[in-house]
């Protein structure tokens, strides 16, 4: 095990040191004094366990391929963006857009997350134990987003592919456009159980429903159109007062 003091380095230097240590076969690295540093653990490749003892800034573990990164504190926006594989475990809460465009691997957030978690995700799994903000999995192209707490509005907006698992009893009123709420399949429940066991999350897979894309074919996709309401506008006729 190796202890590194993040306060002594720039993020790129720190990442270089971690990479070199992992190349030398060191398996466990602990980093302290991260002080919300941006770009921590960017592009790490190979095997290793990196524990960051406090909070991190933007882009934590983005483009990562292989290692397991555990953040004891909170994490800023865009953590795990474009991640390829490996695990990013966040013990507290995160900012927005976590797991944007991830291709693979697993992100576990034990706290809550902001808006657009899993934006454009293409693979992998993101588990949010707390609540998620608006537009979860917006325009995703694959992967599984699992939210244990409350969903924000517009969940799954215009997903192309992938699945959002939710047990929010009000989910049906929070759906974005071009998605629908469905029952989970037995295989999906097994997958959830395995993930919950692996990450020691106590939740019952049978409580979960799935938000799925409605993009099964051409022209099913509904896009924005201005809504013109001539009847509603009638009251403004003949000098009716108009207030925005």
């Amino acid at each position: 095990m190796e202890n590194l003091d993040a306060a002594c380095y720039k993020s790129s230097e720190l990442n270089e040191i971690i990479k070199a240590k992992m190349r030398d076969g060191l398996q466990d690295i602990v980093i302290r004094n991260s002080h919300s540093m941006h770009n921590m653990c960017v592009g790490l490749t190979g095997q290793g366990n990196i524990t960051i003892e406090d909070s991190t800034g933007l882009y934590t573990a983005s483009f990562m391929e292989g290692p397991r990164v555990v953040v004891e504190g909170n994490v800023g926006w865009y953590a795990g963006d474009d991640m390829m594989s490996g695990e990013l475990i966040i013990k507290k809460n995160t900012g927005c857009n976590v797991g944007a465009y991830i291709n693979g691997g697993t992100i576990v957030i034990y706290g809550s997350t902001g808006s657009r978690v899993g934006y454009g995700m293409k693979g992998g799994s993101i588990i949010v134990c707390g609540n998620a903000g608006r537009w979860a999995a917006q325009m995703s192209m694959g992967g599984n987003l699992i939210i244990l707490g409350e969903l924000g509005q517009q969940a799954g907006e215009s997903m192309y592919k992938g699945a959002v698992f939710t047990r929010d009893t009000n989910a049906v009123n929070k759906l974005g456009g071009n998605v629908f709420l469905d029952e989970a399949t037995p295989e999906e429940r097994v997958m959830l159980k395995e993930l919950f066991d692996q990450y020691e999350i106590s939740a019952d897979p049978s409580e979960f429903k799935v938000i799925r894309p409605a993009t099964s074919g051409r022209h099913k996709y509904v896009l924005f159109k201005p809504v013109l309401k001539p009847k509603a506008a009638k009251k403004f006729a003949r000098g009716g007062e108009f207030r925005e």
Partner: protein, 435 residues
């Protein structure tokens, strides 16, 4: 006056506001209740490089022999920070045209053409086709808001990266690819359902604004070991302000796409009414880079309606380091600009995914035609440059130019032909008759 001798009254036909195209547009909307999409570029007449003339060297400067002497065309792009700048043999790049908008055969042919002439091709939206990567001389990879088909593997093969903020044909809008073009193969690369009408992601999910983008840029530099030149591609709009922000992000270069630029599919409204034309956009970009004192560091690639060596020579004279071409390369392959690329129905096998139509494009022949075209257009630019007394194409300078019209003089700050009249914002010329 009796009936026979009565003078026949002419029928009025309205040629201005209500001409037949306008009527057809209204008829379409009246029936369909929606706006129209089309391929290619705006058919509107815009100011362009034809409104500039190049001054030949006579007594003031010696010309270079067109037929025997050298004129260097090798071009280095992205040397501001990147450790491995891009070196290409001609300042003509093939702009990003997506696999999806174009057939696999067309993409492969374009890539092969770059190997024949030694230039760079950009992949466009929706991932990189293995056939393109195998055949390209240098490969630019786009990082778009959709990130379709993009992974870390793409960074590893890139000779150049482009963060795409917008394209000239539909700035402010995201990519369109109509369902008829999302074949099984295209869908596989993009991770999309087959046959869906695609309106891709509107904004980058991993940087919401310039402050984040600065940190993102550090991330990208680290991932690419500071080796790969990083460009932003943007549509010409508020050029001055956008360029200032781009420079501050720490990029190596800018691809600026004017409003005459082509596309595979864009709403007619967007193509016709968004953005500003290529030539004045270029002038404004050059002015801004000069104002910031980074003109020599930041590479500037201009695109949108570039057709021949004259456009190239004039763009370089204004201050571009290279041009990017799209439509003209497709025309070289056989495209006749029917403007219906969006339908996916292209009998030339270029803008289609239809297996039968794709057979109509012979890859090697198409590659050769595109290569010939780039070669010839480079030769045309060289001819003009030599006549202006340059032994390097990049030595074309704005002093070699004059404006044909008052409008162009005002837009560019280049003096009007036959006078030293300089109008409007300066561009380094001393005026005798400044208005």
């Amino acid at each position: 006056m009796n009936e026979e001798t009565k003078v026949k009254e002419p029928t009025d036909s309205v040629k201005s506001l209500w001409h037949k195209d306008t009527l057809a547009e209204i008829d379409y909307k009246a029936r369909a209740g929606k706006h129209r999409i089309r391929g290619c570029a705006t058919p509107r007449r815009m100011p362009n490089f034809d409104d500039l003339m190049i001054l030949p060297g006579q007594l003031t400067r010696m010309t270079i022999d067109t037929y025997r002497e050298d004129c260097e065309t090798r071009t280095v792009l992205g040397k501001r920070f990147a450790k491995k700048p891009l070196v290409i043999e001609t300042p003509v790049m093939i702009g990003g045209m997506s696999y999806g908008a174009l057939s696999k055969e067309a993409k492969t042919a374009l890539a092969k053409a770059t190997s024949l002439v030694g230039t760079v091709i950009s992949n466009g939206e929706g991932g990189i086709l293995p056939e393109e990567l195998e055949n390209s001389y240098r490969q630019s990879i786009q990082v778009l808001a959709s990130r379709m088909g993009f992974t870390k593997r793409n960074l590893e093969v890139a000779d150049m990266l482009e963060f795409v903020y917008g394209i000239g044909a539909k700035p402010g809008l995201s990519g369109h690819l109509m369902g008829s073009k999302i074949s099984a193969e295209v869908a596989e690369l993009r991770k999309l359902p087959i046959g869906i009408d695609l309106h891709s992601h509107p904004r980058s999910g991993d940087s919401f604004g310039a402050d984040d983008m600065i940190i993102k840029m550090e991330q990208m530099r680290e991932l690419t070991n500071w080796e790969v030149p990083i460009f932003v591609k943007m549509a010409a709009g508020r050029v001055r302000e956008d360029i200032k922000i781009a420079v501050k992000l720490g990029i190596d270069g800018i691809i600026l796409d004017g409003c005459q630029a082509g596309t595979g599919a864009a709403p007619v409204m967007a193509a016709d009414h968004l953005g500003i034309p290529t030539m004045p956009a270029l002038v404004q970009a050059v002015r801004t880079l000069e104002e910031m004192g980074v003109k020599d560091e930041v590479s500037l690639i201009i695109s949108g309606g570039i057709r021949d060596g004259a456009d190239l020579a004039k763009a370089l004279a204004i201050g571009a380091d290279a041009v990017a071409i799209g439509t003209s390369a497709l025309i070289a392959m056989g495209c006749r600009v029917c403007m219906r690329c969006h339908t996916g129905n292209c009998s030339f096998g270029i803008g289609t995914q239809n297996p039968e139509q794709r057979k109509n494009l012979d890859i090697d022949e198409a590659a050769e035609r595109v290569a010939n075209y780039i070669q010839a257009m480079t030769a045309e630019a060289v001819l003009l440059a030599k006549a202006a007394g340059k032994s390097k194409l990049k030595n074309m300078e704005r002093e070699d130019l004059r404006a044909l019209t008052l409008e162009t003089a005002a837009m560019t700050g280049i003096p009007l032909v036959g006078s030293d009249l300089v109008i409007g914002e300066g561009f380094g010329f001393t005026a005798n008759n400044k208005i």
